[in-house]
Symmetry: C2
Amino acid sequence: MEFKFKPIGIVHSPFRQKEDIPRDKNKTSEGFKDIEGCLEIFPEFEAGLNDIDGYSHLFVLFVFHEAHRKSLIAHPPHDGQPRGIFATRSPHRPNPLGLSIVRLLQREGRFLQVGELDMIEGTPILDIKPYTPRDLKPEAHFGWLEKYLT
Amino acid sequence: MEFKFKPIGIVHSPFRQKEDIPRDKNKTSEGFKDIEGCLEIFPEFEAGLNDIDGYSHLFVLFVFHEAHRKSLIAHPPHDGQPRGIFATRSPHRPNPLGLSIVRLLQREGRFLQVGELDMIEGTPILDIKPYTPRDLKPEAHFGWLEKYLT
């Protein structure tokens, strides 16, 4: 069984390639706070952006297009220990699907200016979804990551 | 350009088909609070579940396999008004990718018992990611949805 998806848009980012993102940025909640960029949605999907204004945060589902190996084990930057891939956000996953939350700054037609961006230039976007109250889990706890929280 | 993904697992749910989910359940944060089920991860991916214990919430990226039309406009249950698809969580999207957050109750080998489940039986799972502190956006606001929050 196989599922096929085509990009609805592309990311424009100050990070030109994956080596431009210091790994330590992923260790804190603030690492990407000041990074701004643009989500370009292709013209045939522009009508799908109606009513997106007023949402402060958007989920972006994207392809880790520069992830060229798949692994079940990752070594996150926090402590270098091996961790099961599904307990991490590493790009090197069985399906190289990424999930980021960006801050929506402004919509100009089919271009979304966004903040808190952690993707690289040219990242293929598969979907955009609004961040809703159901996505807020203030009671959450965080497994192995807990001891590295500041 | 096209990207292909294969399921890493499958959802087991008390909802046998999509008609079993009352649309009104999607209108509140509590609608799926008491729904429990199981994420079955296929044997070849079981090692990827290491270290997942201790996370209270998981993102599940899945395929809306019962969504048989694609639209740029949805009519969410809140007010029946037409909304751009990317301002909703409707299944009838250009790429029928779903995103849910479930509560991890227990891991038993390659089976994850979960709560707050809103997917139907047989849903193909493409990825599982931990919900981390970076995903908490207490300052978020919610566009057109705001006036329907209780």
